[in-house]
């Protein structure tokens, strides 16, 4: 099975009405469940164009981050958006594979360099070339430190190099880490916020450092005021 192709391209025989119903119904059910648990305040600070391809890049504190962004962008946008996610997690069991590939249509990425056959950035660039939007977490791992945002990996810059015309949309997810902290299994129904900022694009001749700084600032600007001056360890 080719890991990097979306499920919709796998085989025609699955594309029955029942299968499409399962994808749609499963997606809706997960989205509604996520919204009931987190009652999210969803804010688009900038009207995002429906017709442009985007790379949503977000802070990462919880396993459910992907689900919440996915629920927040709406049904239409969802069909063309692929979360970039860890292959070792999402392809580990048949159930995860089913949810990951068939409902979320994830783009699986191998986290450990020694197992890689495909470079993650070129896999993402290919998916954009196929017409998809992406959801990425440029910190590269879940943040369970006291710091609100870890250093961002330069992959986002290399992706922008491949596709300079793509909109990079910063997304700040607030409080989801407390709904279900690492290692817990029962979610606590606290209120979350998902804030989408204005998209940024790679400028002509912009250096890696400049672009990374700009991307980081655009993301941090969406965080609540107290995020960067609290002594809370959470």
């Amino acid at each position: 099975m080719d890991k990097n192709k979306p499920a919709s391209q796998l085989s025609c025989k699955y594309r029955s009405l029942l299968y499409r119903f399962f994808r749609f119904g499963g997606g809706q059910a997960i989205s509604v469940f996520a919204k009931i648990i987190t009652s999210p305040r969803i804010v688009f600070q900038h009207q995002l164009s429906k017709d442009r391809q985007k790379v949503y890049y977000a802070n990462h504190t919880s396993n459910a981050d992907t689900v919440l962004i996915w629920a927040a962008i709406g049904r239409r946008e969802r069909t063309s958006t692929r979360p970039v996610a860890a292959a070792d997690y999402w392809l580990a069991s048949p159930l995860r594979r089913l949810i990951g590939k068939d409902i979320f249509n994830i783009l699986p990425i191998e986290r450990h360099a020694q197992n890689r056959t495909v470079d993650p950035v070129s896999a993402m660039a290919d998916a954009i070339g196929d017409g998809s939007s992406l959801i990425i977490f440029p910190e590269g791992r879940r943040n369970d430190t006291a710091s609100p945002l870890l250093d961002m990996k330069p992959g986002i810059y290399h992706l922008a190099k491949h596709h300079p015309d793509i909109d990079f949309v910063p997304v700040w997810i607030d409080n989801l880490g407390s709904v279900m902290p690492r290692g817990e299994i029962i979610p606590v129904p606290l209120i979350c916020a998902v804030t989408f900022g204005a998209p940024i694009n790679l400028k002509d001749n912009e250096s890696q450092q400049d672009f990374m700084t700009r991307a980081r600032h655009a993301l941090c600007a969406l965080a609540p005021l107290d995020a960067f001056n609290t002594e809370d360890a959470s």
Partner: protein, 321 residues
């Protein structure tokens, strides 16, 4: 006494309840007409105050429809509605409290154990349990759950804030449906009207304080806590809402004078509740508790006056009637 588990609508109260809701509908129709006229007159320039007024009034239609529906179905629906309000108040409150990962089990216990048990014991009419469950058992159990995880940073702050969230959002709010099981001689089968009375007086005091304040408000009461509260709004709102309470004495076990006095206490408590809850919001740097109710903010922005009024009103009624 209303027998426990008798969770159907009582005929003794339904006629009076219909009268109350007819009056509410009349007031809302009037308010809607006024706000539409105001909006029409300011149609050439955006006026955020009038837009907010309009969405507040539309939300009132929704809230009164939901309450009316619960009252029509009966006691069980009223209890469930209050449990739902507590749940939403709790999530709004706990979203703002200081906590860390070690509190996860305490939070799970609050949402999935403490809240259902509190409302279950209300449903059973078990006064001896619901009056002490949260102040005793939860107050002792939660710090134990939190300490087992061995994280001591801000420990006292964390458990105190969590306990306060539970007290305000669940314990206090649950005293509204607890009124259903008060044993008042000569008032059998009509307790549901006492809920309508309390909620109506306290909420109308909120609305009237807003109206009096907007029209006559000059001298601020507590500008560092809530810049919108004025002496004129406070006195006008509390007095006129208490007069409404006196006029509603026929649905209560009170004489007109007693109804006025009870309303005065409830509206004063409502005012202080609002002030205390504003102080918490200000401390945490937020304007509203949430975003669930259009124009109003969160559930707690509407409940803030009820939370202090309900237990006091409940116990005064229990002592003296």
């Amino acid at each position: 006494m209303t027998p426990p588990y008798a969770l159907t609508s009582s005929h003794a109260s339904s006629g009076d309840m219909v009268t109350i809701f007819m009056w509410l509908a009349a007031v809302l129709i009037f308010a809607t007409a006024v706000s539409e006229v105001l909006a029409y007159r300011s149609r050439h320039a955006a006026n955020p105050m009038i837009e907010n007024l309009q969405s507040r009034i539309y939300a009132w239609w929704g809230m009164i429809a939901i309450m009316g529906g619960a009252f029509a179905i009966g006691q069980g629906a009223v209890i469930l509605l209050c449990a739902f309000l507590s749940f939403n108040a709790l999530r709004e409150f706990l979203t703002l409290t200081r906590r860390n990962r070690a509190d996860h089990w305490a939070l799970v216990a609050i949402f999935y154990v403490a809240l259902p048990i509190q409302y279950l014991s209300i449903w059973m009419g078990w006064y001896g349990f619901y009056a002490i469950f949260i102040p005793v058992y939860a107050a002792i159990g939660l710090p134990v759950l939190a300490v087992l995880r061995q994280r001591t940073d801000h420990y006292l702050t964390r458990i105190s804030e969590t306990q306060w969230a539970l007290m305000v959002s669940v314990y206090c709010v649950s005293h509204v449906p607890a009124l259903l099981f008060l044993d008042i001689a000569g008032y059998e089968g009509r307790n549901i009207l006492l809920i309508a009375f309390l909620v109506l007086v306290v909420q109308s005091s909120d609305v009237l304080q807003y109206v009096w304040g907007k029209i006559f408000g000059k001298r601020k009461i507590a500008p560092d806590v809530s810049p919108s509260k004025t002496w004129e709004g406070f006195l006008g709102g509390v007095m006129s809402a208490s007069l409404i309470g006196a006029a509603l004495h026929w649905v209560t076990p009170f004489t007109p004078l007693e109804a006025f006095g009870m309303s005065l206490i409830a509206t004063m408590m409502g005012f202080f509740g609002g002030l205390v809850m504003s102080a918490i919001k200000r401390d945490r740097g937020v304007k509203d508790w949430g975003h669930a109710i259009q124009g109003h903010g969160g559930f707690l922005d509407r409940l803030d006056s009820v939370v202090f009024a309900a237990p006091i009103f409940f116990h005064l009624t229990r002592f003296f009637w």
